[in-house]
């Protein structure tokens, strides 16, 4: 493991990677990157590299899991063994089981589940490289994969974390800030509905700091939302170009 830096914010108020407190990392999003999936997306956020794929609505196996009045959304969040410093066993860890659940629950409110009874929609997320904030980047990508699969949605779901490092409330924590910072607050949002679909926190924040962190995360979500829509448009504008 790398050495722990003593200060996460320097004298000029800049972070370890030179960002200002309310600045996002570099984000690159691509839609429609996998030919076998019904929908897919790839996101790079800082050093995070994450693939998400959506399949369905399709027949659900085992059949007794099917619901008569709606589709069953399933989600697997998984980290590649080489995605972190120390090799991660490919077997699902407890963390991955929990994240799969909270990611699914963050996406569920955006989908018209009742449109496809007796079916399943599957989301598969593979973290190829992790750099802090993977659950948020995963949600951003997974929602795009669903949109790319043509599944009717109330809004895109976009996620971003805020937190506290040293004594500053910062946006979009990277790995080191996440590990040794004071608090981390991941938030997922449907921006058009102003609805929070994922909220977690670990660390210690006063009520006032918590409020600032939530608001900053929502602000970050807004910026990423613009990139999400841009990425969707890019794919479909390109396709239109080919046809012409």
């Amino acid at each position: 493991m790398s050495q722990k830096p003593e200060k996460l914010i320097d004298k000029k108020g800049l972070r370890l990677d030179g960002r200002k407190p309310n600045e996002l990392r570099q984000i690159k999003i691509e839609v429609g990157v996998l030919s076998n999936a019904d929908g897919s997306a790839y996101i790079e956020q800082g050093k995070n590299k994450i693939l998400a794929a959506a399949f369905g609505p399709r027949e659900l196996h085992p059949k007794h899991m099917a619901l008569q009045d709606r589709t069953v959304l399933r989600c697997r969040y998984h980290m590649a063994p080489f995605s972190v410093q120390e090799r991660k066993s490919p077997a699902p860890s407890r963390r991955e089981v929990e994240l799969s659940k909270v990611i699914r629950e963050s996406i569920e409110p955006s989908i018209f589940l009742e449109y496809y009874p007796r079916t399943a929609i599957d989301i598969f997320i593979e973290v190829l490289q992790a750099d802090g904030g993977t659950r948020c980047a995963s949600i951003t990508a997974a929602s795009l994969a669903l949109a790319d699969a043509g599944i009717p949605m109330r809004d895109l779901v976009v996620a971003c974390a805020a937190g506290k490092v040293d004594d500053t409330i910062v946006l979009d924590l990277m790995d080191t800030e996440d590990k040794i910072g004071t608090a981390d607050v991941p938030v997922a949002l449907m921006p058009n509905l102003n609805a929070i679909t994922l909220l977690q926190m670990d660390g210690i924040l006063t009520q006032e700091e918590f409020e600032r962190a939530v608001n900053l995360a929502i602000e970050g979500c807004g910026k990423i939302y613009a990139l999400q829509k841009e990425a969707l448009k890019t794919k479909y504008v390109d396709i239109k170009g080919v046809e012409e």
Partner: protein, 263 residues
């Protein structure tokens, strides 16, 4: 954890909550009756049973000697596990832990860990080599809703009741000596769970309310009212202002609970 509740009752619960009332007569932010018993399992280093209405959770702690994690060589290890025991509900099945029990364990863990409730540095025997490992096993015995708050409370009660063995080092080996010390506890994190029903927040949902709720939010706060752990669950959503309101109510409710239990 699906089970059956009639449409009529669903509607009744939702309509009552819209009027600020609940089927069992509680106010929206009232807890059910809470009972905490400590030291009920003699074989465990610490134990507690919590009754939250009819929800019943037992927690036992065990202490062993093990290795610290690489990134925290000077700290003892805390491990939380939760079992949704099949006798607690017709919806629980035997087998390896499912996502619900893993999530439950991780929420309880987060509250204790992030509030720094245990002074883990005092559990170090030999830096990088030997530390005390604390196992917190959450055993759900009867499921009538809000397992999270009951489990978090029982875990804290059991930790407060936990005795650490006295020990001496002899030629690199740990030798236990007679007598015990209490576990070095510094904080009392209390988890408060909200259900969102009909766009209203209610505290401590019981089973039927959980079956009606759109979403769930758990907020753990420490003795100073700081927020230390949060988990949203369920397939609904919250408005940003609801979240902030919940954080404020959570710290008030947690304070009440600490007073009631004299912690």
């Amino acid at each position: 954890m699906a089970s059956v509740i009639t449409r009529v009752k669903q509607k009744q619960i939702a309509q009552l909550i819209a009027k600020g009332k609940r089927l069992d007569g509680r106010d929206l932010t009232d807890y059910r009756e809470v009972k905490v018993e400590q030291g009920i399992i003699e074989r465990a280093e610490g134990s507690a049973r919590v009754l939250l209405g009819k929800t019943e959770v037992m927690v036992g702690t065990k202490i062993e000697i093990g290795e610290p994690f690489l990134d925290t060589p000077n700290e003892g290890v805390l491990t939380v596990n939760a079992e949704l025991v099949p006798l607690a509900s017709s919806t629980f099945e035997p087998g390896p832990p499912d996502e619900n029990s893993i999530e439950l364990a991780r929420i309880v863990d987060r509250g204790v860990r992030e509030s720094k409730a245990i002074d883990l540095e005092k559990l170090c025997i030999e830096p990088g080599k030997k530390v005390f490992v604390i196992f917190v096993d959450v055993y759900v015995l009867n499921h009538d809703g809000n397992l999270i708050d009951a489990s978090a409370l029982a875990a804290l009660a059991a930790l407060l009741n936990t005795k650490m063995p006295n020990y001496e080092m002899e030629e690199g080996e740990v030798e236990t000596r007679p007598g015990y010390n209490p576990l070095p506890m510094r904080r009392h994190p209390i988890a408060v769970t909200f259900a969102k029903i009909n766009d209203k927040l209610i505290v401590d949902p019981w089973l039927e309310e959980e079956q009606v709720m759109d979403a769930r939010l758990t907020i753990a706060t420490d003795d100073d009212g700081n927020v230390c752990a949060i988990q949203k669950g369920g397939s609904g959503y919250f408005a940003p202002k609801q979240v902030l309101e919940a954080a404020r109510i959570a710290s008030e409710k947690a304070e009440e609970m600490r007073k009631k239990l004299d912690w």
